[in-house]
Symmetry: C2
Subunit: 415 residues, 2 copies
Amino acid sequence: MQINQQRLRSDIESNAEFGSVPTDEGRGRTVLTGSEADRRAREFFCERLRDAGLELTIDAVGNIVGRWCPESADPDAAPVATGSHLDSVPEGGIFDGPLGVYAGLESVRAMQDAGLAPERPIDVVSFTEEEGQRFDGGLIGSAVATGDMTTDAALAIEDADGVPLGDALADIGYRGEGRLDASAWDAWIELHIEQAERLETAGVPAGVVTSVVGLSRCRVEISGEADHAGSTLMTDRSDALAAASEFVLDVERAANDRRSESETVVGTVGKLDVSPNAPNVIPGTVALTIDVRDVDRDSIAHVIDEARTSLDRLETERGVETSLEHPWDRPPVAMSDRCRDALSAAGEAADLGTLALHSGAGHDTMHVADVTDAALLFAPSRDGISHNPLEWTDWDDCADATRVLAGALAELATS
Amino acid sequence: MQINQQRLRSDIESNAEFGSVPTDEGRGRTVLTGSEADRRAREFFCERLRDAGLELTIDAVGNIVGRWCPESADPDAAPVATGSHLDSVPEGGIFDGPLGVYAGLESVRAMQDAGLAPERPIDVVSFTEEEGQRFDGGLIGSAVATGDMTTDAALAIEDADGVPLGDALADIGYRGEGRLDASAWDAWIELHIEQAERLETAGVPAGVVTSVVGLSRCRVEISGEADHAGSTLMTDRSDALAAASEFVLDVERAANDRRSESETVVGTVGKLDVSPNAPNVIPGTVALTIDVRDVDRDSIAHVIDEARTSLDRLETERGVETSLEHPWDRPPVAMSDRCRDALSAAGEAADLGTLALHSGAGHDTMHVADVTDAALLFAPSRDGISHNPLEWTDWDDCADATRVLAGALAELATS
């Protein structure tokens, strides 16, 4: 099967214009759910689905599906599905999400061009709010599609200004009807950039994921005493930022130390806000987040435990008050053998090597795997950089990974 | 001489209404230069000056002066001056600044009530932008009044949105004319809250400052690599926040270690901003400020040197890039013996003890001392808390400190 690399590239480059922003490191992409950039990205995707003759539906939380149901297919058969997401982090790259969405569409077009006659319909999907940048939590569209969250609960999630997701989607004309039901799919495969360096290092264009890491996220608050930075002696201080700095290093150390048990474990303090945040005031309060992931559930629990121990120590040693909320804890998820086998076979058929590896990111596939056979395919990321304007995947690698995806989808849809 | 405690309290409480904001710790006061709160605070102060029969002038940078020139005084004699500032940090307290302004006015009213006949005019002053919250640097009004900065340079200072100080003052009707000239004063005394616990611990209502600390301020930037928090192994990271956390602790440690040489040295990272600041992105850049103060200039230089050493180490050990700008370096300033003696004598005459101590904060007096005899008088601060809604000085202590101020001003204006 031939992949049209130029057509795929043109789609991804066109999509990159929506939310394009200048940064010190080149053009970044900021596509927050419900923004004008999101509206334009969705509109362009819908046009491209229609251009390829796919039947378009948009559900109540804005999940977009294009269905290819050729004459060869039984319209009542469980479809094979593929896709990813179009939203981004602030100043993110152009591949994280869009590659999977447009590689899914390109796979269908390649099958059409090759005159393939699948027996099942094929769905190409873009899920709403994967990144969780405007609406807390992320993976919202796939959570609804898999029954992990009700449609009403999702629509009621508010952004920092109190705007509910439902209103944000309605504002841009993408609050549709009904609920996309992922459990009705026969199988699901998502192509995504690796966001790590293993494929690049191995010189292999496609990675077949064995397991998606589990993910715990906590909100921490550390309170000291906001005082004048000049007149408060060092011995009279309760500096929330100094305490938080110890905490950040304790989380980093806990993850590093645990690598002797599970080398894939990671712990990150990505967001940290100081109050009142003035040069001449000792910080009174620091609010921060912890994000801990691994394929090994015990290692996640260990790092969270170490974080709690750190806070207890800081209360004693620095006289600060602390709190830790743990609203999100998702166990590791194994990928389907059937889908993984289809990907490996497609790699061999295309004369491309594939590498088995784990996924450190909680993609939508993590949810879909709860309700049907699911797999995740990786394309290489230059230097492993992602969530950054420097994020890059060579166009040849995009095409090669799409070739593997298309082969596996064709296999699953005809068996 | 009788101080009217109720009149002083009423002025300070009325002033506290301008910019009053609810916080977790009670009502805070946010009076940023050029804001509506600033306009109302200035308007009320001008009314109170006029009510007491003082002659009002407002200079080009918004410094407000009320002059009392009774018949006993030679209008051409160099005035004795007193005052402080009315602006605040965000969510600050009600005494930092306003106590000195209204205690100055109350001192004049007390002299009037007592029928005193000073030989010199007495000026009551409110300086513009002491805190440096909206317009960088702070102490701007006193810098202009002492010739440390030109009027034009001050008016051109821009806030974060690019609005010049001159426009901000014109917007609220407080861009006056001419330049207040502090070198024309015979002497200056500022009453301010201590913002530390020494007076409270000693049970003494008034502190006579021996020396104002020197102050260095630096801007630091630490750049790593913004990467996906899930898919980037611990070993592949360049986390700007983890590096910045080490730096915050290094600055704290440098100040603590130096206490063996000079126990008054303090070092603070008060402002720290993370970018992109998202839970699932490894921090790419951290921008922060360092504020270092002491009565001993070598100790300030030592802490700044240690900060530079820390950055060098972080570049080597963590592979981050760093920069340090050092735009502000002000040496310690000794207070005038003549003014200190007047304060001590006034304390004795009023049957109130006074304590000799240093000032950790860079009040406007630091500038005024460059051009005339100057002194700084402290009132107690409960628990040393300042720049915080919990900032508090008992009304009895306010009145006692004002009694010492008024006595010293009367002495200086009649000799």
